[in-house]
């Protein structure tokens, strides 16, 4: 019974903040829409029908959610270890760049399965290498990972911009030449209904990776250590966990997951690396992790939600400026961030009130019986 009560409290803690955020978003959204002179109900309806109302919209949402899920899971893994990786943007770009470079280097006739495996590996290595920088600096020198990941973000993006702009671009563009091998077909090739959308089979790669990370976090010793360090580093240290090593491992893993996100655009959509393709998805990953409560399953749901918002912006652009959704995304993050501690406080208060009520109710008829707490 006490287990189900704590489960219920945990569920309330997870579900309530997004609901509060949703309510606030609807109100702010209404105000912004009214400011443009449109009817809010029409715009909301267009947003829903333009995303989940047709196969093209669904395909686009799935495509965007694939990248966001990687970025979100990357942030979530770091937070599980008590670290805040806000460098997913640069790691995502580095991963995409790695995949594109390997795809360029491979000969055109490389068998698909080998080329895809190598390019995916390159994405993981690219992101992981960028994640290793804050990891090493944290583990070795105690440098704060928030500061280092911000700074590394700018360095990586500038470096990639230099390489592409000065060495490796197709004239008149800021993207690399197309890969010779390693591209992944679109969903539309097998399911014609998705025609025109960017959704592609890298979604399976990413889905498998999310499942693997969930397994790692909750079913392996290393994952347990990672979470233990996140909850209470001193206690973990006392329990024999080498904390700096776990920090390094967590940040490398986090970077690798973010890097994997790059395969979606590079291998599945365009077939080349383009400067700035991450387009803020790395930063939205923070929102995805926050709303998804750092849980792989929650991250997937949150990624779908944020993907719906950004695709929805395009669907309503004829009626109101699509930037409305950027404002709303910011509001969601603020509202969830602000309501998480408040909800936690209220839920715990309610739980202890329930606990007191339950124990006094149980104790009242048989007053002499001691040990109401079990």
């Amino acid at each position: 019974m006490s287990l189900s009560a704590s489960r219920r409290a945990a569920l309330e803690e997870a579900i309530l903040p997004p609901l509060v955020a949703l309510a606030i978003v609807l109100v702010v959204g209404d105000v912004l829409i009214l400011a443009t002179g449109e009817a809010p109900s029409d715009v909301w309806a267009a947003l829903v029908s333009g995303t989940w109302g047709n196969w093209y919209g669904i395909g686009q949402v799935l495509y965007k959610a694939t990248t966001l899920a990687c970025a979100g899971l990357a942030v979530a893994v770091s937070l599980r270890a008590g670290l805040f990786n806000i460098g997913a943007e640069g790691q995502l770009a580095a991963g995409g760049f790695g995949a594109a470079i390997v795809g360029l280097a491979l000969p055109a006739g490389t068998p698909g399965i080998i080329a895809i495996a190598l390019c995916t590996l390159a994405a993981i290595v690219g992101g992981g290498a960028v994640g290793a920088v804050p990891g090493v600096l944290r583990a070795r020198f105690g440098a704060h990972e928030v500061i280092v990941t911000i700074m590394v973000n700018f360095i990586v993006l500038a470096l990639l911009n230099y390489i592409v702009a000065a060495k490796l671009h197709v004239p008149e563009t800021l993207h690399t030449p197309s890969m010779n091998a390693g591209t992944v077909p679109r969903l539309a090739d097998a399911i014609p209904a998705f025609h025109g959308s960017a959704a592609n089979w890298t979604i399976l790669l990413v889905g498998a990776a999310i499942a693997a990370v969930a397994w790692y976090l909750f079913r392996t010793r290393a994952g347990f250590e990672l979470r233990a360090v996140g909850l209470q580093p001193e206690a973990a240290e006392y329990g024999g966990v080498k904390v700096p090593r776990v920090w390094l491992r967590a940040l490398v893993l986090s970077g690798a997951i973010a890097g994997l996100g790059g395969v979606n655009f590079v291998m599945g959509y365009k077939g080349y690396y383009e400067d700035g393709f991450a387009g803020g998805a790395g930063f939205l990953g923070i929102a995805v992790a926050l709303v998804g409560r750092n849980h792989p399953l929650g991250v997937v749901v949150a990624a779908l939600f944020f993907a719906t918002l950004s695709q929805g912006g395009l669907a309503i652009n004829a009626m109101v400026p699509r930037q409305v959704v950027e404002v709303l995304q910011g509001i969601v993050i603020l509202a969830v961030a602000a309501s998480v501690p408040e909800v936690r406080r209220l839920v715990r208060q309610a739980v202890s009130a329930r606990g007191v009520a339950a124990s006094s109710a149980a104790a009242a008829p048989s007053a002499p019986a001691g040990g109401s707490r079990g």
């Binding site: 704060h144 911000i150 360095i155 500038a158 230099y162 950027e326 404002v327 910011g330 961030a337």
Partner: protein, 292 residues
């Protein structure tokens, strides 16, 4: 003459850094992580153009720019201080929110997705170079910001309180310092100062362009960290970063160093500083932690 031009250009580039970094130093010394400087600046730049556009006065522009900064800073303060939201998350959210809302309002007010119409600015436009610089009052505010902040932080009661709530809020509270009120003041101050930096940018260019702050808030944050959270050192860091940029612009024709590498300098120096390779850069002890 070359040196004078170099100096003038360095100062011109450094002013927004100095203003935003002084805001960042103030908030961080009070224990509030300043990831939102970029958003405050962008809000200030946009607010200034809106004010200047409708009043045709640069001064009104400055006032409305600062008001925009204060508005954003109060959202930050409500979330992190009243509701104890995570400061890093809030900072990132403020930045995303500001990019969105400025684009939305740009579209609404001027029917453009890229820039505003031309607005009033400071100084006589017929004189160039150092004279134009000297005739811009925001330049003087920017140059004064760090010395004034140093005085406030080290020599006034308010400054003592700021340092106390940044290092040990519990101890400060037990001595009767109103922790949340001091932090509110610091966050609002940082919003106003960073917004002034943004207002300088947009009024200097006589228009607002989409995302025109282009990471300057983060360079200001880098300067604060590289300057070890000390106003004077942070001010010197701002000038150093600006001088590097000026050098790069001057040498652009020679193609000696790619501009991207010069752009990396502040970030690389900051990483070196926090890694403690040459003297550890230590943040205020309670930075990022909500007071109970």
């Amino acid at each position: 003459m070359m040196i004078l031009l170099f100096l003038a250009q360095t100062i011109r580039i450094a002013i927004p850094y100095l203003l935003a970094a002084s805001g960042g130093a103030l908030a961080e010394r009070a224990g509030i992580v300043s990831l939102s400087l970029e958003g405050f600046m962008l809000g200030g730049a946009f607010g200034a153009v809106i004010g200047a556009h409708y009043s045709e006065s640069a001064w009104i522009g400055v006032v409305s720019g600062v008001a925009a900064g204060l508005f954003l800073a109060s959202i930050h303060a409500v979330c992190t201080l009243r509701f104890k939201a995570d400061q890093v998350v809030t900072g990132v959210a403020i930045n995303l929110f500001t990019v969105g809302i400025t684009r939305f309002l740009l579209q609404l007010a001027f029917d453009s997705s890229s820039n505003s119409p031309r607005v009033a600015g400071f100084g006589d436009e017929n004189v160039g170079g150092a004279l134009a610089l000297a005739s811009n009052p925001l330049v003087w505010v920017g140059l004064a910001a760090m010395p004034v902040l140093a005085f406030v932080i080290y020599r006034t009661t308010f400054g003592l309180r700021v340092r106390a709530v940044g290092e040990h809020p519990m101890a400060a509270a037990s001595l009767g310092v109103p922790v949340d009120r001091v932090r509110w003041a610091a966050v609002l101050g940082s919003g106003a100062l960073a917004a002034l930096g943004g207002a300088y940018l947009s009024l200097d260019q006589h228009q607002f362009t989409d995302s025109m702050t282009a990471g300057r808030g983060f360079i200001a944050l880098a300067a604060v960290i590289f300057g070890r959270w000390d106003p004077k050192r942070a001010g010197i860091a701002c000038l150093l970063f600006a001088a590097a940029e000026t050098l790069q612009i001057r040498l652009q024709a020679a193609q000696l160093i790619p501009s991207q590498f010069v752009a990396m300098i502040p970030y690389v120096l900051t990483i070196v500083a926090v890694a403690g390779v040459v003297g550890r850069s230590r943040p205020p002890a309670a930075l990022g932690r909500a007071a109970e």
